[in-house]
Every structure is written in structure tokens, then in C-alpha cells.
């Protein structure tokens, strides 16, 4: 609580010293970096995403190119040199002889891609539905919100399992399942803020100017609903990554040809009882860190973007 108490004083100080006008973005950056933990989390998130992006160029082997993987290297203890002698398996190898560092970075790529993709699709869909609900109102709105309530009363994992059971396995099916699970959160958030926004004067002014409904909705109301939406995106993306990992671990998520972190953990699980912990342990650690980092960034964004907390 001490930071909020000191807040106004610090802001006044800054205003006296720097009379120059801060752009909204500068203010946002200044507010965000106030928390050291959140700044570290943001840097860590960028590093994680970069690592996932450039994985093919930095890892010692392509874990899914059979020519580079030697089955004789399977289940090596962390720190063992590879049989080819060119590099060391710093985190050991998995059951098929793949270097764990390489497999994890490739897995991170898939986990992040699926999480971000489903998050973005769900956001587009949910935001559009929420906007329409708020703007049209009446029966359409209550029907949409009833569906949202109904869906949110069931746990996400159950809805996802239902869909997977009906649709089958595969990357596209997992994304469909994750989108279906998540759109309701976006719809609810956007409808809430759109209801508030649509009663404001600028919307009335836009209507007086004779702008089309579509332009008012997407050009005027939607941008003003963005702050809460951004927060939901971060939290839901972390949730999606975790859910995908869980489904993959259960063996009903991604196929073996698209090994995400969850699948790596699942593959390592069978060796766990013989004490070969690293095959599950390290991918789990990466998964955990990714989720925690995204959540920390989301938490700070929530505080910074909340107008009630702004100074």
C-alpha cells in the first residue's frame, strides 16, 4: 500500500521538474516500470518469445530431424556430451535421444503459437459478439449473455474435453476448443465496457454526424474498450497455454508430430518412476515460468490500465 500513498507526491514532484507534456504512451511506460518485478517479468516474456522465435537457429540439433537424433543417446543424464562429440546435452536427453534443450525450445514455440493464436481468435470473436450485444441490446443481448453465463458455469477443461471428444485430435481442433472455451470471457468484458461507452457523448455526437453503426462500433466504441481487453488477453493466453499443456498431457491434445511442452512432460512421465526426472521436470519448469511471467505482466497491466487507480 505504501506505493499508492507516496504516489500523488511523486507525481507532483515530477510535474514540477518536468513541465513538458507526457504522451499517453510515455505515461504508460512510466507507470508500468514502477514495479520492478513486473519490469523483469516483461523482459523475461520478451526473451522467452524471442527464444521461441529463433529456436531453430540457436539449438544444437533439430530434435525432429531423425538424421540428427541418435537413439543410442536416449535418456542421458544432464551434462553428458553427445555421442557425436560436437555439443553437450546440458539438460540431458529424452526417451528418443533428443537433446532436451532443443526439444524444449521447439516445444515452447508450439505452446506459445497455439496459445497466442487461440487467444487472438477468441478475442476477435468474443469482442465482436460482446460489442454487438451491448449495442443492439434487447432480446439479442440477453440471449448472448445467457449463453455466456451458461458456458462460464462449466469449468474450461470440461468444455474443452467435450469438444475434443466430439471433434477428435489435431492442432486445428485444439485451437477450436480453446477459442470456444475463451470467447465468453472476452464477450463479457467487452460488453461491460461497451455498455458504459455507448452512453457517452462522443457516441451520440458520432451518431448525429450520421456515421454508420459499424463505424461507430468498431471505430469509436471498440478502441475505448481496449484497456480491459488487453488485460483479459494476457491472462487468457496464459490460461490457454496451461490448458493446452494439460490436454496434451492427457493425450487428447496435440498429436505426437507437434510436441508442445505438455506433450514433452507427458512423454517424460513414463520414465519418472525409474528416477529419470529431468525429461518431465525441465519442460514443466519452462511451462511454469512462461505462465507466471505472462500472469505477472497481466497483473501489472491491470493496475496501470485501470482508470480508477491512475493518479
Amino acid at each position: 500500500m505504501s506505493t499508492t500513498d507516496a504516489g500523488p507526491a511523486v507525481a507532483e514532484d515530477a510535474a514540477v521538474r518536468r513541465p513538458a507534456v507526457q504522451t499517453p504512451f510515455q505515461r504508460f511506460v512510466a507507470d508500468y516500470t514502477e514495479s520492478r518485478l513486473a519490469t523483469i517479468a516483461f523482459v523475461a516474456l520478451i526473451v522467452t518469445m524471442l527464444l521461441a522465435l529463433i529456436a531453430p537457429w540457436i539449438v544444437p540439433q533439430n530434435p525432429y530431424d531423425l538424421a540428427q537424433v541418435d537413439i543410442m543417446d536416449s535418456r542421458l543424464v544432464p551434462g553428458t556430451p553427445a555421442s557425436s562429440g560436437k555439443y553437450t546435452h546440458w539438460l540431458g536427453t529424452d526417451g528418443a535421444g533428443r537433446d532436451l534443450v532443443s526439444a524444449m525450445l521447439y516445444g515452447l514455440r508450439i505452446s506459445l503459437a497455439v496459445g497466442v493464436m487461440s487467444g487472438l481468435i477468441a478475442m476477435a470473436l468474443g469482442a465482436a459478439i460482446g460489442l454487438v450485444a451491448a449495442y443492439v441490446g434487447g432480446k439479442v443481448e440477453s440471449l448472448i449473455m445467457r449463453i455466456v453465463d451458461l458456458q462460464l458455469s462449466f469449468p474450461a477443461i470440461l468444455v474443452a474435453l467435450m469438444l475434443i471428444a466430439i471433434l477428435g485430435k489435431g492442432v486445428d481442433k485444439i485451437i477450436i476448443a480453446l477459442v470456444t472455451v475463451q470467447w465468453a470471457y472476452y464477450a463479457r468484458t467487452v460488453r461491460g465496457s461497451a455498455l458504459v461507452e455507448s452512453r457517452k457523448e462522443y457516441v451520440e455526437a458520432a451518431r448525429c454526424l450520421g456515421l454508420s453503426n459499424g463505424r461507430i462500433l468498431f471505430g469509436h466504441i471498440l478502441p475505448n474498450c481496449l484497456p480491459p481487453l488487453i488485460v483479459v488477453v494476457t491472462v487468457q493466453t496464459a490460461h490457454a497455454i496451461s490448458l493446452e499443456a494439460t490436454l496434451s498431457f492427457l493425450g487428447v491434445g496435440l498429436p505426437q508430430t507437434e510436441p508442445s511442452l505438455g506433450l514433452l512432460i507427458s512423454n517424460g512421465f513414463q520414465y519418472m518412476l525409474s528416477g529419470e526426472y529431468w525429461i518431465s521436470f525441465f519442460p514443466g519448469l519452462v511451462l511454469l515460468m512462461t505462465i507466471v511471467v505472462i500472469n505477472l505482466v497481466g497483473d501489472q497491466l491491470r493496475d496501470v490500465l485501470n482508470p480508477r487507480l491512475s493518479k
Binding site: R146, S242, T246, F249, F269, F281, N295
Partner: protein, 325 residues
């Protein structure tokens, strides 16, 4: 009150009906019901016979009517793998799942409330801060990974607890459960704790927030002024008032415990409904999947109904007339 319960019952029936339409459409429009409802190894002649027998040549609303009639009379098909009624298979597995969910709820209460109380009464102590930090971790840790790590530490490294399966059962007061045998308790400890982790964190946070709020209220100050010992203030006056949100949330979360038991049961090879569902998805045993979905939806609706009614009884301030489903 009676009118309210009747209205809620009707709403619940509507939800179940809506869900049955969704499950039905999922099966008959998104997927191909022929391959969903009959053995994948059947030949062409048998497929055609089945289409006629299942009435798939009839209009869709007639099909739905037949589906509903079968479901209402408990006919949800036969398992391909086990060859027996899908409904019976699930009902047989249900006690194991309920047992682990109840054990997890008990753990959440027995661990969460004292820890939350402590964190709320002494918010600045180091122990309280550690409790809160751990509870944040409890929210972000993926359940399945924690389960694996528990097996690694307590079963593989330390060898304290068995890593898989359910222990022997015993009957006590007409209830057959593995909770009544020592070996059964040893088997259930890890899965139940794994399932409970998220709920323990939740209860800690709820209890702490409730305590922090209640501690400044007049009735607590008055009790202090009367010279009532602290243990009685905390144990009776405070606890009674913070129990309402805790009970409600735990009730609502009971359904999600059953849903999440799918994960825990898979890790610890616990013979419950969730493990059956995952096995069935993998062996494409469709009738069991359908039966599971319908049963779990009904279970959820019933749980939500009970919690809503309990809530309005526990807290008279809830204006039941205005509550929605």
C-alpha cells in the same frame, strides 16, 4: 421460498434440455453419428442396418426425440470395449471420483481456513507473507505438473506414499470407501492433495480477505470490550461470519473438482470416471463419452441448484426473487 425452488428447478431442467440439444447436435451434425454410435469395425451391410435401426433416415427433430427418449430411460448405449451398459460403467466408477473430490474438499477446509485465518489475523508476519506467496503459486502451477513432481518426490525419492491406484475399501455405516482403511488413506493422500491445491489457495485467500474485513467490525470490537477471550472471538464470532463465502465457493467449486479429477485421476491412475473418460477418448469408445457428458452436465446443474438454494438459506440478505440462473 417454494416458488423460488420450483422456478429454479424449471430453469435447471431447461439448461439440461439445452445441453442435451448441444450434445445431440454435436454428435449428429458435427460428427457422423453412424461412426459415432456403432463399432468402427462394422461392415457396410451392418452400417446400413444400423442407420435404419437408429432411425437416422428420419428428420432431425424425430431423431432428437428418439435420442431423448432413450436417454430418459437410461439407455445411453453399450460400451464397445467393455460390452456393457455405458451408464452402468460410469455409475460404477463414480464413488471413486466422489471420494477423491470429497477428500480434496476436506483438505481445502482443514488446511485453507486455519492458514487463511492466520494470514488475516497477522497480515504483516513473515509466515503470513509466505502463505500468501505460496497461494499465488498454487494458482499458477499447472495441476498435472505438480502431480508429477509429487510422485517424483514422495513416491520415487522418499518412497513414503504409493504413486498409483486406489487402496482397499472397507464398509462403514453403509458407505464403502477406501477412506476407512490405512492403505486406502495412504493411496488417496497424494491425489487428493494434488486436486485440492488450487482450492486450498482459494480458501486461504477468501478466509484472509473475510478476516481482514470482519476484524474491524463493531461486533468484534464489542466482543473484545466484553472481555471474551480471543480464541472464542476468532473461533465463534469471526469464523461464523466468514464461513458464508467460503461455503458457497467450495460448493460451487465441487463441480470443478470433479471436472479436474480427470487430470489427477490420469496422473495417479485412480480408477474414477475421469480416467474412464480419457481412456474412452483414446479408444474411441463413443457411447461412454456421450454418457459421461450427459451425466456430468446433470451433475453440474444439480450442484449449482443446491448451492443457490443453500446460499439463500445461509444469507437472508440474498433477494432470491431477483436471482437469475
Amino acid at each position: 421460498m417454494t416458488a423460488y425452488i420450483i422456478r429454479r428447478l424449471m430453469q435447471s431442467a431447461a439448461v439440461v434440455l439445452a445441453m442435451s440439444v448441444i450434445v445431440f447436435l454435436g454428435l449428429h451434425v458435427v460428427g457422423d453419428p453412424v461412426y459415432l454410435l456403432i463399432d468402427p469395425q462394422a461392415d457396410q451391410a451392418e452400417i446400413e442396418r444400423t442407420i435404419r435401426r437408429l432411425g437416422l433416415d428420419q428428420p432431425i427433430w424425430m431423431q432428437y426425440f428418439h435420442f431423448l427418449k432413450g436417454a430418459l430411460s437410461g439407455d445411453l448405449g453399450k460400451s464397445f470395449v467393455h460390452g456393457t451398459s455405458a451408464l452402468k460403467l460410469i455409475v460404477e466408477r463414480m464413488p471413486a471420483t466422489l471420494e477423491i473430490a470429497i477428500a480434496a474438499t476436506l483438505m481445502a477446509i482443514l488446511l485453507g481456513i486455519p492458514l487463511g485465518l492466520y494470514a488475516g489475523l497477522k497480515p504483516d508476519s513473515f509466515a503470513s507473507k509466505s502463505i500468501m506467496a505460496t497461494s499465488i503459486l498454487g494458482f499458477s502451477l499447472p495441476t498435472f505438473w505438480v502431480g508429477i513432481m509429487m510422485i517424483m518426490v514422495f513416491a520415487v525419492m522418499l518412497g513414503w506414499l504409493p504413486s498409483t491406484g486406489r487402496g482397499p475399501t472397507a464398509t462403514f455405516l453403509g458407505i464403502t470407501s477406501s477412506l476407512f482403511t490405512i492403505d486406502g488413506l495412504r493411496h488417496i493422500t497424494m491425489p487428493a492433495l494434488n486436486l485440492a491445491l488450487l482450492k486450498i489457495s482459494l480458501v486461504i485467500r477468501l478466509t484472509r480477505a473475510g478476516t481482514r474485513e470482519a476484524i474491524h467490525q463493531d461486533y468484534i470490537k464489542f466482543a473484545r470490550a466484553k472481555g471474551i477471550p480471543t480464541s472464542r472471538i476468532v473461533g465463534v464470532h469471526l469464523l461464523k461470519n466468514i464461513m458464508i463465502p467460503v461455503v458457497t465457493v467450495l460448493g460451487l467449486e465441487f463441480g470443478s473438482l470433479i471436472a479436474f479429477s480427470v487430470v489427477t485421476e490420469t496422473i495417479f491412475a485412480w480408477p474414477g470416471m475421469g480416467k474412464l473418460l480419457i481412456d474412452s477418448i483414446q479408444t474411441l469408445d463413443r457411447p461412454i463419452i456421450v454418457a459421461y457428458l450427459i451425466i456430468i452436465v446433470m451433475l453440474f446443474v444439480v450442484i449449482n441448484l443446491i448451492v443457490d438454494i443453500l446460499y439463500s438459506i445461509l444469507d437472508p440478505r440474498v433477494r432470491i426473487g431477483e436471482k437469475s440462473a
